[in-house]
């Protein structure tokens, strides 16, 4: 959808929805730029690691493959 068509719809949004949209857009821009929001810097390394069980399963698979073909 072209921006010119989108703007009239955006104007109809409520105040809180406009705020949420603003937050969404800034988060998208940070994500695309690979930047870390200031309020999460320093916390990124410890959050989400305690329950990364799928990641642990992938590492177990990598270890098993390593035993078959070392440092492949």
């Amino acid at each position: 959808m072209p921006l010119t068509e989108l703007v009239p719809h955006l104007k109809e949004l409520s105040y809180s929805d406009k705020l949420l949209l603003l937050q969404f857009l800034s988060a998208e821009l940070l994500k695309e730029s690979g930047l870390v929001p200031l309020d999460t810097k320093g916390k990124t390394a410890s959050q989400g690691l305690h329950d990364s069980f799928e990641a642990a399963a992938v590492l177990a698979k990598a270890l098993a493959e390593e035993k078959v073909a070392p440092h492949g």
Binding site: A45, H50, F53, A62, L63
Partner: protein, 138 residues
């Protein structure tokens, strides 16, 4: 054969003294013919080992050849790949450690449940700012 080795906690902030000490373990990581001397944070609350992006590059690992690793929450914004390295700790026999090699430039080197704590037993003596590790028997 080495039974167990005791290490002192590392003071992170001199102003805070023992309040800021953390269990960092010195080790040598090797990949193919490259090796680096590093310190990893022993983190029993982490499901996985985490390797900072720069360390993987210094070891000559190739990002595109690795399995993708789905890390949770805030770390999910950064892609991570599986990388198996040989780790030498003190005089223990070398062990294979699997890392989530992350593109998060702020990530420290973390030694977590998969698989550091499967390879080593660790006993923490927080009041003494020390920990002891021993290699698990296969």
């Amino acid at each position: 054969m080495v039974d167990k080795v005791r290490f002192a906690f590392t003071e992170v902030d001199p102003d805070l003294g023992t309040l800021s000490t953390l269990p960092y373990l010195p080790l040598v990581l090797t990949y193919q013919n490259q090796f680096i001397n590093v310190s990893g944070l022993l983190d029993t609350g982490s499901s996985v080992n985490v390797l900072p992006y720069e360390m993987g590059l210094r070891l000559g690992a190739v990002w595109d050849q690795r399995l993708s690793v789905p890390l949770g929450r805030n770390l999910a914004r950064f892609e991570a790949r599986a990388l198996v390295l040989t780790a030498n700790v003190e005089r223990f026999s070398p062990v294979e450690l699997a890392f989530a090699w992350t593109q998060d430039k702020n990530a420290p080197l973390i030694l977590g449940q998969m698989n550091f704590f499967l390879a080593f037993d660790v006993c923490f003596y927080r009041a003494e700012s020390a920990f002891e590790i021993s290699l698990k028997l296969a």
